[in-house]
Symmetry: C2
Subunit: 349 residues, 2 copies
Amino acid sequence: MFKSATLKEVATKAGVSYQTVSKVINHKANVSPETEKRIWDAIAELNYTPNYSGRSLRQQRSRTIGYTWEPSPPDQTNPILDAFLQSMFRTAEEKGYYLLCFPFHADDARMLKVYAHLWDTGRVDGFVISRLNYDEAIVPYLSGRKIPFVGFGRLEDDNCSFPYVDVDGGNGVAQAMDHLVALGHRKIAALAWPKDSRVGNNRLEGYFSGLAKAGLQSDLSLVVRGEGTSEVGFDATNYLLGLPQEIRPTAIVCMNDMMAIGAMQAIQKAGLQVGRDIGVTGFDDTPTARYLTPPLTSVSQPIPAIGETLVERLIELLETGTYPEPKCELVAPRLEVRESTASYVPTVG
Amino acid sequence: MFKSATLKEVATKAGVSYQTVSKVINHKANVSPETEKRIWDAIAELNYTPNYSGRSLRQQRSRTIGYTWEPSPPDQTNPILDAFLQSMFRTAEEKGYYLLCFPFHADDARMLKVYAHLWDTGRVDGFVISRLNYDEAIVPYLSGRKIPFVGFGRLEDDNCSFPYVDVDGGNGVAQAMDHLVALGHRKIAALAWPKDSRVGNNRLEGYFSGLAKAGLQSDLSLVVRGEGTSEVGFDATNYLLGLPQEIRPTAIVCMNDMMAIGAMQAIQKAGLQVGRDIGVTGFDDTPTARYLTPPLTSVSQPIPAIGETLVERLIELLETGTYPEPKCELVAPRLEVRESTASYVPTVG
DNA sequence: CCTGGTTAAGCGAACGTTCGCCTTAATTCA
DNA sequence: TGAATTAAGGCGAACGTTCGCTTAACCAGG
């Protein structure tokens, strides 16, 4: 391992004290132009790079951000992970920071220990956290210890007690509802997540507000809940298709793409055509959504922008000590209309 | 920001010098049992955690591993990313290391600068690299500077010039070929990647070796190349289905799942049944593979084991300075047989 | 000729460790 | 009894920075 040159070696070469070199590098110097040039020349010649450990020891900061996430189950792919991570890495690097990624542990106590260790050792200056759900233990822990963090997602009924950026899932689903209503649909079902999912409930609100806005009655027999898998979507849709004609839905709004995929399979298996006979919308705009037959209309989240915002805000918090305004932000997703909701022919009922 | 206690505070509390505390922590001490107990008690009471910067400054090592990867294009999902990262994080943590993840830059020179910066500043002790292709600039760079690294994947014709773990893609495709031949297929096509893809060519070798093993002639008009997207798979399959009956393939071996998906769509659009009329195999065993209709037979890579091995080897290299044996390793993938290759009825030709 | 203000740079100290050598007192052995 | 050995722990130094105070030289104004 070849060590890089140190301040002292640069100083010797330039004929100044090493502290002066430090000042020049940090643009805090009061030096003559000639001296400064000599110093910069020496730096270039020796290929000097400031040592990270020395710097962070002195400054008491690591310029490192910690992040972990709950891995997808082996039978699913996290469609946003790659873009989310890259956007955070890029933003951080631009500001001289890097991300330290650490493993997820399902055991809360174990997980908290890892957060604590990274902080106590001074390996990180703060955290980005995601997968916020009702029972999140990490938020009170970090808040209580005054450890800086920003969240991707918020807690239930949280009145902005910590800085976060979240997708307005309700808004997204409401957009899907508006779209379906405009196409002429009047009986619309929802495939929802279990009741203990905060994200799921938030999205589902858009379903009800969409109904209300269109002046439609909500019928709870048209709301089916389950884990967001394609099997659940398949089974739930079979159930919906078996309902009596007068209440059978002409469109199905799904809280994620996996359930939408299952719904489409069930519809096709029943001999119906997705889009013309029954409209289907998803949520996430998974990369595969556009390759399904027919391509799936889905709500798309601005993931790269979110990653960027999160990191920017955290760094600002770290460097100024105050929360940037607005402390909490809700960003609107966008509906990507495709053929799974095209060419619906309303029957005058 | 509450600082953790320091060695000195612990020492004061225990009534010894702070260097002695350090020795106790590092199990290098010659101290009486009573003193040791006093020290451990003080450590527990003050909740002391060794400072990371101080330690790495002194030891001249960061216990940090750098990793970056080429992000998937926005219309695709990297099916192995999540599992690969988590397996590396876990293994590293067990050994007291963490991963520093940094952004990918398409510009080689820019990318090299980031690697150099992370190394020169002492932020990382070594790297894991992936996406090895013919023109990989990073391998000679790191080798030349004697910077420790291990690779996921190897270079063309590389006689183990650096430590790596790679999937034996040819073996995987050969398994698929054996399977198809056993089912009675005699005319088998391949959907391959562009010629400049090392990974793609490696997989394709399994196609030719599979043909040879079965004593079948290879027909280059049955090998279609293109970017590994579902569109390419779709178009290529349409072409194959249009071939005259005597050479038209009864099975299609695809070098990834995306092309297999396109192939299945083209087959279904032509009114044929995947599995019974034409067999299709993929590669990657994407989580969605099992949810396609019909479920896709695909070659599955032991990703978590690879991540684990890579990190273990790198750490061993870092700590001992020598390459662990075997320096280079090729692991065999496994064929997951599903319905896309089921119930084929060979017609006596 | 002295004062006070710049300008340019030096210097000591500190951040929290680890490492190797040194000291002290007690013990052992001939 | 005196020298050699051992156990237990102290001490100085170093890793590479940054920070704040001091200093030396120079200059203009009274």
